[in-house]
Assembly symmetry: C2
Homo-oligomer: 248 residues x 2
Amino acid sequence: MPVEWQPVRQSRTHELVLQSIEERVFAGELRAGDRLPPERELAPVLGVSRSALREALRVLETIGVLVAQPGRGPDAGARIVRNPDDALGRLLRLHFALGSYSLEDVLEARVVLERSSFEAAARHASPDDLDEAEALVVRMGEPDVGVPEFNDLDTRFHVHIARSSGNELTSTLTSAVRESVRPLILRALEEAKDWPATAAALNAEHAELLGLVRAGKGANAADLVERHIRSLHGTLVDEKSDRARGDS
Amino acid sequence: MPVEWQPVRQSRTHELVLQSIEERVFAGELRAGDRLPPERELAPVLGVSRSALREALRVLETIGVLVAQPGRGPDAGARIVRNPDDALGRLLRLHFALGSYSLEDVLEARVVLERSSFEAAARHASPDDLDEAEALVVRMGEPDVGVPEFNDLDTRFHVHIARSSGNELTSTLTSAVRESVRPLILRALEEAKDWPATAAALNAEHAELLGLVRAGKGANAADLVERHIRSLHGTLVDEKSDRARGDS
DNA sequence: CCCGATCTTTGGTCCGACCATATGCGGTGT
DNA sequence: ACACCGCATATGGTCGGACCAAAGATCGGG
C-alpha cells in the first residue's frame, strides 16, 4: 500500500476524447504536421458532441500540440504541431504569479539551466548563432535603448544562447523560466537609479559572456552567467520586499 | 526592426476571456483557493456565451491553475489551485512523443536538474524526507518487486529527493522530465536480460545516493546521480536504435 | 487567359435544453 | 429530540442545432 489512493473520477467525456487522441500521439499514428478530421466529422465518429470534442482540442492547443485555423485548403483545419514554448511560458508565468514558486526557486532554476546552456553553447554554438548574439549585445549597448527594449533584448540574448546549445528541452525551459519573471525584471530595471550605468554594466557582462562562449571557455562562461543572474536577482529580491513593505 | 512580426490574429473570444482571467491572477485579485462565479453567471457578465467561457476555463484547467467540481457546497464550483505537476508532465510527455525533444536532450536536462536536486537535498533535506526515501529504497530492494513497481518506486525516489531539495520549481521540472521518459524506461527495464541483477545494481546506487545525501556530501551525490542517470539512459539509447532498426 | 463574384469547407460562437452530482433542507417516523 | 429518507437546488458536463467568419476553390464573364 505504498501509493496513496487517488480519486477515480472519470466520466468527463472530453477527457476520454483527449485520452483517445493522446494515445494516437504516443502510438506514433499522429505526427507533427498531420491534420485531424474536421470537428463535424470527428465528433460523431468518437460518439461525442462537438462541444466535448472542442474542449479536448482546446486542451491540446494549450499544450502547444495542436493549432487550428478556419477556412479551406492545406493549411486549414486542426493540425498537430510542436510548439511547447508558449505553452510552457504561460504555465510558468501563471504559476509564478500564483506563488507556486518563490523567486529563489526561479533564481536557482535559472542558474542551473543557464550554466548548462552556456557550457554547452561554448562547445556547440555555430558562428551564425554567435553573430546573432553579437548583434543583440551591440543593440543593447546603444545609448538610446529604453528599459522595455533592453529587457526584451536581454531575454532574447539568454534564450538565444540556450537555443544554440543544441538542446531543445533546456532551451525551452530556460526561455519559459526567464519569461516567468519578465515582469519583475522589467519593473526592477525601470526603478534603477542610474539606468544608463546599469544598462552598461549589465551589457558589459553580456559582452564578456559572449567572448567566453566564442573562445570555447564553457566553464568560465558558466561561472560568469551564474554571477550575472544572481546579482540581477539580488536586486529583484530587494525590489520584492520593498513592494511587500509598501503594499502592506 | 529587431523583432520579427508576428500574427495579430485576436478575434477568438475564449482567448479574450482567458486573458481577462489571467490579468486578475497577475494582479493578485485571484489567488489560490478563490472560487470563480458559476459559469452561468460569469458568462453574461463577460458578455460571452457559456461555451466560450468554458473553453477558457478548460485552458486554465490544463495549465493546472483551476479545478472544477459539480455539485453544491463549499467545495463545488471552479476554484483556483496550484497544481503544475500534472500539467507540466502531460506537456512534456506529449512533446517528447512528438519528437520535440530528443532523448539526449532529456538526458542532459535530467542530469542538470537532478545534480542540482541532490546537491540541494544534501543541504536541506529533513530527516523525515530521508526516512521516506529510505523506505522507497528498501521496497525497491525486495526481491518480489516487478518491473512496473520498480519503475514507479524509482520515479518516486528521484522526485522525492527533488521535492526535499526545497525548490518547488526544479522539483516540478524534475518530476515532469522523468515522467516524460517513463514509458521508455519501463520498456527498457522490461527487456533487461537479468532483471533481478539489474534491479539490484540500480538500487545499490540508490542506497549509495541516499547515504551521500544523508551525510551531506552533496557534490559526491551529484556526481553519482549523473553517472546513475547516464548509464540508465545509455541502455535507453541502445533500446531506441534497436527499435528503430526493427520497425524500419 | 485573367480577374472577380460566389460557393464550400472549416473553425468559432451562441443558445437553449437536459443530464449528473453533491449539498442543503425539510419532512417523517420512532 | 433525533435519525433517516427523499426532494429541491446549485453547479459543472454534455448535447444538438443554428449561425458567423475566414479563406481557399470554383466558375463565369470579360
